[in-house]
Symmetry: C2
């Protein structure tokens, strides 16, 4: 990891993003095993596994990543890769986990591809705008719903977007008419950050009627796509796009949705990732609220009923709450043989580890205050510490892994 | 029990209904211990406990039950008492239980009177109309909500009332403008039975604007009050009235309610009595739906979200469902020493007992089919069997008490 990503990694990831459809299990797994540069070379040479070859056959010989990067640059679009500091490691850690699990079942013979999109992390993200991509997931709320929204739905959505942005919460949504557009408009009206997650290439705003909205979002926030410039917003790309909205949001609100809808698909991804799903009720006479009511009363994991900004903030949590209660630095609980594990960490991750509470889980900004690094540095380091088995994550936050905690002594 | 109630009981209960406010713990308990005739005499003589005397001081010397019964008769109102076959024993059994529990805590020193009304059964009911009072609670749905209902709320309510009545479900509500009136109108439009539970005397329709509606309800269904003719609909009488709506309904739907409302009070009574509370969601922009949303998301016993007649019927159950599955007569499980207990039962109750399933609980009409008596006879006998400890009641229906069930033999 470092500030500057080498050109060969950028080119390799641009190539992979072009030749593989989003959330392709075999290609993602190949990249995970070989790294992007070797994986790209293997694929271009047609030397991958049968699944990898099949998944990339259509474009692997003709893809021109340098041309894609040039087109992107002309449109003010940059390619963000997992090797970059800007990568949203924190938000995508859950996709990383579910992706690994899915890859295992795929290798074990579960070849059937999920209709609702596989829970894999993206290979790269095409990004436009000054927003802080790496900070997503800490205090960001997905607002999703029907394109054919009613006046009621658009009103409630714009209110939510406005109110959340006014409290410093980043709004995340798709780029469609209806609920998506109302959410962004509300956030922008409050001068807040909004994130448009697009299903097609960012040089081709879709629908074109929302082009001006995307431009405004990219001026203060972010417009993001998993697909390279020129990619058409095809149906399956909407389904895989939905998992990104779920992953990049601390929690997601469904404002209006028909019985079978993309919003229900996004809600499904939230559950897979362990992110809270909220739903706004509406008139029972409105088919556009029927999907929300279904979510609210399903037997397993019913959605949380929210009626206003306060309700949503109560669910996603107010960062920094409760920090006063536990400000003592933790006692050093680290046994001698653990020190070796810590030695491989970079100095920032080491400091973040030292800021992890022993008992009561803390949120990233609490940890930042405890160890004196920036919240962004904390959320960059948490996935590293997680993969190293040094921390324990829960809905309430992060703390030192159980194996490292000193036994409680009875006085 | 018998078909004809003696005049002295009728006069005593008419007197008690005049001198005590509804749900008065000391008076109810006094009647329970002494019977109505002796209790009425004691009260008229000023010889009751200090609490009984205090609760009846205002009217005990001037009450004229014969005059009340005469006025009632002129208005087509009859007095129904617990000693009558028409008494809704089945629906009020839960109030009987909660009333006994409340009387015990009262005697133990818990003198504070509940703000939301005590869960005591009525001493008597003033009733008008041909509806089947005794059958209430088996397949009846309370529909309650705000007087200041919106057009949306009234529309949904009338739809529910119409649809439920069309399926033979009796609608129960108060007599107010708004949701109450819309519920009755819907049921009447479908040619169904509707029950108006009034907070004041039935000779004084309140509000007078609904007088014609009460007249129509009394033509095919019922108009009921706990208070004698001439009683004004005072605030505390609305709160005690609400417990009757809850008790007389298999389940209750709140269609529209502000944050603090009578509907929330009715919902509270439902929970106390173990009756399901349903709520209809609405626009989050409508203060008239805020109470419903609160009910839907409260932590303990959240209301069930219903959007249509089907949803409500699914909650209160379709009588007769599943009867085909278990039509064999139960094996005779009765040990010799239990026969003595059964000998004290009247012949109908004895037959009903014999119709109780051993394992899978059955609903009253299933039991009726099993033992060849009418459903009404079944529901009259169930409280008797319950008090005798011969049956076990649950949400799913009734079966023989555990102590009487033969052990399952392993083959």
């Amino acid at each position: 990891m470092g500030g500057v990503v080498s050109d060969d990694i950028l080119l390799a990831r641009a190539y992979l993003s072009r030749v593989a459809e989003p959330a392709c299990i075999p290609v993602w797994d190949c990249v995970r095993c070989l790294g992007p540069v070797a994986a790209a070379r293997l694929i271009r040479d047609g030397a991958g596994s049968p699944e990898v070859s099949a998944a990339t056959a259509a474009r692997r010989e003709h893809a021109d990543p340098q041309a894609d990067l040039d087109v992107a640059q002309r449109h003010g679009i940059r390619l963000v890769v997992p090797e970059s500091d800007e990568w949203p490691h924190f938000a995508l850690a859950a996709l990383e986990r579910t992706g690994r699990a899915r890859a295992r079942t795929f290798q074990a013979g579960e070849r059937k591809v999920s209709d609702s999109g596989e829970p894999m992390p993206p290979l790269a993200l095409w990004v436009k705008g000054p927003g802080e991509l790496a900070a997503l997931g800490v205090r960001s709320v997905g607002i999703v719903g029907s394109r054919a929204a009613t006046a009621y739905g658009e009103h409630v959505t714009a209110d939510l977007g406005y109110g959340l942005a006014g409290r410093g919460v980043v709004v995340v949504s798709g780029g469609a008419y209806g609920i998506d557009a109302a959410a962004h408009r509300g956030a922008l009206a409050a001068g807040g950050q909004t994130v448009v997650v697009s299903a097609g290439g960012l040089d081709r705003p879709y629908p074109t009627g929302n082009a001006a909205l995307f431009t405004r979002a990219a001026e203060s926030g972010l417009v993001i796509s998993e697909s390279p410039p020129g990619a058409a917003p095809q149906r399956h790309r909407f389904l895989t796009r939905n998992r990104l909205i779920a992953a990049l949001s601390t929690g997601t609100v469904v404002v209006e949705a028909a019985r079978r809808s993309g919003a229900a698909n996004t809600a499904h991804h939230c559950l897979t990732l362990g992110r809270p799903v909220m739903a706004v009720p509406g008139p029972v006479t409105s088919p556009m609220s029927a999907g929300c009511h279904d979510l609210l009363r399903r037997e397993n994991d019913p959605a949380l009923l929210v009626t206003c900004v306060d309700d949503v903030v109560a669910v996603v949590g107010a960062m920094g709450d409760g920090i006063a209660a536990d400000q003592r630095p933790p006692a050093d609980p680290i046994a001698g043989d653990v020190r070796a594990e810590l030695d491989v960490l970079d100095p920032v991750a080491r400091r973040v580890f030292e800021g992890l509470p022993v008992r009561r889980p803390a949120r990233p900004d609490e940890i930042a205050q405890r160890c004196g690094v920036t919240p962004l540095e904390v959320i960059r380091s948490l996935p590293v510490l997680d993969l190293a088995g040094l921390l324990e994550a829960s809905d309430a936050g992060y703390r030192i892994a159980a194996r490292l905690r000193p036994r409680r002594r009875r006085v």
